[in-house]
Symmetry: C2
Subunit: 343 residues, 2 copies
DNA sequence: CTTGATTCCGAAAGCGCTTTCGGAATAGCG
DNA sequence: CGCTATTCCGAAAGCGCTTTCGGAATCAAG
């Protein structure tokens, strides 16, 4: 199988390489006659420009990297595949590549970003789950790499992001619980170096206060992003004197752990203690009982993020690309009126 | 920020570009003295060779693509992230890139592979979940792209693969169920164009026969790879006169659906009807009841697959890289002795 | 028929790196 | 000290494509 390069085509056609290239790339100084000849020949031989050479010549990488969050745990990973799928679709329309890069530690993360930017192999980057102060964001800015973040850090005024308003989602969740008669509402949060964790906690607090309740610190636990951690946090909280009748969790994964903790105490989630998660993971339908959750619109987020990033790479102003979606309550079976409420 | 290229370094050092390059790449015709000078200078200026140029010059892509299976559904996706993570780690040790490419349809898949091979942007490919006859495999072979498949097709003698022996896993599962007293054992399979689906079905059949039972076609259903499909298949089977006391499912996702179906009939999974899944997904711990499953060793499969592919790219013989792992039973709560067994 | 404007294409210079080749400088040997 | 063998580096030719520039050929206008 003869390798079909520009040179090959040019010989075949009796044209100069540059001419063939220009014909293929839509330059206006090529007559329609020869252009169609060239295109026909290219198709006939199934010509695909060597991307590497093209990249080198044009200086544009035609590729985007997704920085995979380190230490993800199996339960929450579906969001990675979803995002990747959407990103891929968005990039595919331009024939761009999607690179997945990872770094295990955060120092390594800096190193990785530095390498990415210098090696010039990507024209843009997307990162997930930013910290409150996120050094990745600062680096990306410093190196002037176009990027978009899936989530927001504290000062998110001057870069592009796509996020779901979890703060008001948690306010809504508290409202919902209060409406069901709950007064002792607990919160299992995530480590607050994650900005999303802080926002969710803020939403919880705001919701409590706006309902005329008092924030009780013994009803607040912080747990890692895993089912086991959620479970441990829930047993702690259940043990505390301020026994909650409902528990809000920062993530579905933790909420699932909480469910287990409640059942382990001989209590019935959804009757004795309500629990509401956040994320809207599909398998929440199958937990025991099915998990009520604040669902975020995951569906096309990947594609949208991709489109936004592309727009920025094309010269768009990053601050024009900030999008805040909202989550909505999906009631399944893990919430209910406070027990004894009907007495 | 001055861009630091080979030219820059060579001027800085008063050496020729080629010399600097050779020094950095460990050629033996460079004196140790100048080599260390060069390295020091490179580090000082944080030089990273432009990958694109390097690729063009050497002709090696230094990148591997993962062909994302189309139409994955959220419930089963954790395996994608896991695989990607492992692959990434493996490639990172050489500083290679991981590309994620996808194709929505199978014609598009062929197109994608063709493009991949011709554009020369990857030196290897990994694909998942092969069909019995998989055109992707044939294409990859035809184009002489090094590849490895995660799973096996029917004729898997002459390429590299990494798979779990689900056939014997299903035989084991049947044995287990028989030991618990079950005689009416149903099977919810996947579409048999997936070779894994065929192998699991074969394992089921072999298990039934080796236990002196008879294969009853009304106890065999085929369902898509989703919880809903699993549920539908299970209600069908439960409706049939040959009422099963246990159901084996080709995937955990389907098994979870089966659990729901059983409960919907007012029966108790694990007591009235046992169900055993396959995959060992983490969230099986949280289903109602927790799902007994044949767990495959997902943990480092990604890294291993990456290492195997790299070895092949380095010139290894593909057939030397075929690895068959085995799954093992993880008992949770969805299996139990046949009801009435103790009477 | 001459001149100036257009249209269309060829030639050539890169993009930043690798790698081969040859030659100067040094070393080893008799 | 002369000669060959080493050691070490510079020069240059690509890798396959893009893009600028200029010029030949064609056209319209005077």
């Amino acid at each position: 199988m003869q390798k079909v390069s520009l040179k090959f085509l040019s010989k075949e056609l009796g044209l100069a390489e540059g001419t063939v290239s220009r014909a293929l790339n839509g330059y206006s100084d090529i007559s329609e006659a020869t252009r169609s000849r060239v295109i026909a020949c290219a198709e006939k031989h199934n010509y695909k420009a060597n991307q590497t050479a093209r990249r080198l010549a044009t200086g544009v990488a035609e590729a985007v990297a997704y920085l995979m969050p380190a230490n993800t745990n199996a339960l929450s990973e579906p969001f990675v595949s979803q995002l990747l799928e959407g990103l891929g679709q968005s990039l595919a329309r331009r024939n761009w590549d999607l690179l997945v890069v990872q770094a295990s530690s955060s120092e390594e993360e800096a190193e990785t970003i530095a390498k990415l930017s210098r090696s010039g192999k990507v024209s843009g980057v997307v990162i997930s789950r930013p910290y409150k102060q996120d050094s990745r964001i600062e680096l990306l800015r410093k190196y002037k790499v176009p990027f978009i973040v899936h989530g927001r850090s504290v000062s998110h005024a001057d870069y592009a992001w796509y996020d779901v308003d979890s703060e008001s989602a948690f306010m809504d969740a508290v409202d919902h619980l209060v409406m069901l008669g709950h007064r002792q509402i607990g919160f299992i949060g995530a480590p607050t170096y994650y900005h999303f964790a802080q926002m969710r906690l803020d939403g919880y607090r705001a919701g409590i206060l706006s309902n005329g309740l008092k924030v009780n610190d013994s009803l607040i636990e912080v747990a890692e992003l895993s089912d086991d951690a959620g479970e441990r946090a829930a047993v702690n909280m259940l043990k505390s004197p301020a026994s909650p009748t409902a528990i809000l969790c920062a993530t579905d994964t933790q909420a699932i752990g909480a469910l287990a903790a409640i059942r382990a105490q001989g209590l019935e989630p959804g009757k004795d203690v309500s629990v509401i998660g956040y994320d809207g993971l599909a398998f929440g339908k199958h937990t025991n009982p099915p998990l009520t959750t604040m669902a975020q619109p995951l569906a096309h987020s990947g594609r949208q993020i991709g489109d936004m990033l592309l727009a920025i790479i094309d010269g768009g102003n990053p601050t024009d690309y900030q999008e805040l979606r909202s989550a909505k309550l999906v009631r399944r079976m893990s919430d209910g009126p406070i027990s004894g409420h009907t007495e």
